[in-house]
Amino acid sequence: MDPITLSRWQFGLTTVYHFLFVPLTLGLSWFVVYFQTRYYQTRDETYHKSAKFWGKLFLINFAIGVVTGIVQEFQFGMNWSEYSRYVGDIFGAPLAIEALMAFFLESTFLGVWIFGEGKIPEKAHLASIWLVAIGSNLSALWILLANGWMQHPVGYIINEVNGRAELVDFFALISNPKGWLFFWHTVAAGLATASFFVIGISAYHIARKQNVDLFKRSFLTATIVGLISSTLVFFGGHTNGQFMFETQPMKFSAIEAHWETSAPADFSILTIGDLTGKQEVWSFRTSQIGIPGVLSFLACNNFECEVRGVYDIQAEYEASYGPGDYIPLMVVTYWTFRFMMTIGLAMMLFAFLFLLATRGKYENAKWMKWVPWVIVLPYIANSSGWILTEMGRQPWIVQGLLKVEDAVSPNLTTVDLLISLIGYTAVYGALAAAMFYLMKKYAIAGPDAAMHESVDVVTAAVGADD
């Protein structure tokens, strides 16, 4: 295994892992904000307990996001030093601003929120959870503006002397439509993730007739937020797709296994490629069931427009960037998109059905005990979405400017990378086990256990021998 492949695996694993926890942080923070604010307004103890309960689960999740986030910031320099040199002038700025504007805010006020209850004025305590939510979401904005630049570089020139990309227009960087589309899509996905998390855990307790009043309120809130946010995710994704069609046509066509240019273009229901991923073996498309032009609609909102195929774009890229393989790994882009979209639609449907159910006596319904399984849906969709976005950009690390193979740290050896890759995998695996154990324990224990800051049963010494 060469260092580039290992570095890519490491970035992929650490980033997908980090992003398992981020969406829940982004979304669940607002649920805690909502319940605590309602408690402040109404003095209704149920809201207080809700804030404490969801807050507890929020903290267990947040901690992993924080510690794995440090790796994210360091590994650009550690594994991708040539990338860092090339884009530091531009990419470093949003990263530094993220730390300064968002990380300080969320970490400081999270400490205040955890430790401040009963010690600081209630208003300040309430404000602190608002600031945590704002800080987390601000952090998403800055990192997505940075990633948006990698997908759609703006506001830069290539310095002829040192060959690096340099920033010339900061406002173009922070108003990059790609970054804002990502932000819309990601924040909505975060809310949808949190909604399904809340729906699933509430259903668990409702089905067991525990704290039914509290969890019915949580369930209702989450179905409303879930329906709105999953709809927003869907339209954000559609808009994102159209922007991609204009700015990253190769990614767009690779997602659809769209080999040959056509107008109108057909949407693939199922396509099988050969093992190289460069050739179609068999395909079943929408026109075969009588609906032509679906892909054209996805690309440009009408059923007629031309969508170029990957072969044509490959030829075009070779003409402008020189010989090379510009087609992403299509089996990945094709299937991750289908996972993401199918689950996204399923989430909209589920949220709608759950909302309908809340109009009746759903707490007695037999199907309630199966509802907790919906929690896995957003996790698959979120991961698929990011794998699609990042792998669909290959072979570029910065679209049209820098290839991944030119971005890696040249000094790293296979041994270095094996040590770190195995090390991260082991540590992250252990973290996941501890997180899952605690999350399950507190989710099942319910709101009364969450009213205590720590489950404190043992009074004995830690051990007389230490």
Binding site: T68, I70, A93, A96, T108, F109, E166, M435, V455
Partner: protein
């Protein structure tokens, strides 16, 4: 603002971020390393963790911001150092990960084995972080092999030279002392007394190591050619600060003991960055290959934009972080009702 002025300004800003990080997280690391040794009973350990509970994460953001600022202002510094010190930084990250998660998870389960494991992870994580940061910084002062293309040509073992390891040892012992003086200031009763007794013992070790490091700095770095035999005010003041600390420790003047150790840490870092300036990575291969604030920096435009942003947000951060310290200024008792983590 001239380009050169901006480059100098960002060198100073990054120095301030690192100094702020060591000033704040230094005692966190010390507290972490002392945890399993000073805390005998569970509630004692909880009290110790609660002294840094509300603030440790905010302290660590100084490191993240320093890293981000290096990336934005001196991409070559960030790229050369982070890729060059790859395995050392990997171990640092492992240390920070296991330590951070342990603060949050440790008391969320009452199984003594669970708590015991996380206590030791806090200690080991803090130890690793102090060791590796100390080793990395003394290697920066000493110089590391860097070729004409700004590429680090050594490996992990290049960093494990005697001066590098002495730097690591210094950071460990000074942070232990710093942590003990912090705990004396933040705890109550018996635990406070034990922290004080411990700080007396730790003081001896730290003082010896600091003097050793000062002497070896003359041998291992280019301080004599750059600054001269007389190192100037800052390094001398830093040594004086740690020398007088024992006076305050013995007289139970806890606030002053903490301040003098903190002052030592801050002044040592100031001395370090003064020695480095205007270089950011010294090449031991050839001085001409060194990275400086001039050849490693971002464009004038980026530095200007970042200066404006830093000028707005750094004061805001300082205000609210200061406010949070003020809110949690009270001593921590081992009374379980008052403990959070």
């Amino acid at each position: 603002m001239s380009y050169e002025f901006l480059q100098t300004l960002w060198f100073i800003l990054i120095a301030v971020l690192w100094i702020g990080f060591f000033f704040l997280e230094g005692f966190d690391f010390g507290v972490g390393m002392l945890l399993p040794f000073l805390g005998k009973k569970d509630e004692e350990r909880r009290a110790i963790i609660n002294t840094v509970g509300p603030t440790w994460d905010g302290n660590e953001v100084w490191l993240l911001t320093a890293g981000g600022a290096m990336f934005a202002a001196f991409p070559h510094w960030y790229a050369t150092m982070f890729s060059g010190f790859y395995l050392a930084l990997f171990l640092l990250l492992v240390g920070l990960i296991i330590r951070g998660i342990s603060f949050e998870y440790r008391s969320k389960d009452s199984n003594p084995k669970w708590r015991h494991t996380f206590d030791w992870m806090i200690a080991v994580g803090s130890f690793l972080a102090a060791l590796l940061l100390g080793t990395a910084f003394s290697n920066l002062a000493r110089g590391v092999p860097i070729d004409a293309n700004m590429m680090y040509t050594g490996n992990l073992f290049t960093l494990l030279n005697p001066y590098g390891l002495l730097g690591g040892l210094t950071m460990i012992t000074v942070f232990l002392l710093y942590g003990a003086t912090f705990l004396t200031l933040k705890l109550e009763g018996d635990l406070r007394e034990r922290a004080r007794e411990l700080s007396k013992k730790l003081y001896v070790v730290a003082a010896v190591v600091v003097v050793l490091l000062a002497v070896f700095t003359y041998i291992a770095t280019d301080i004599t050619s750059k600054i001269g035999i007389d190192p100037g005010f800052t390094p001398i003041a830093s040594v004086v600060a740690i020398v007088v600390a024992i006076f305050f420790i013995n007289r139970k003047m806890e606030g002053w003991a903490f301040i003098t150790v903190a002052l030592h840490i801050v002044l040592t870092q100031v001395a370090f960055f003064t020695l480095m300036f205007p270089r950011v990575m010294i090449s031991s291969t050839n001085p001409a290959f060194s990275l400086t604030i001039y050849n490693a920096s971002s464009s004038q435009y980026t530095l200007t934009v970042m200066s404006i942003i830093a000028l707005i947000f750094v004061p805001i951060v300082l205000v609210y972080q200061g406010w949070s310290y003020y809110q949690f200024r009270k001593r921590i008792s081992t009374d379980k009702k008052s403990l959070v983590y």
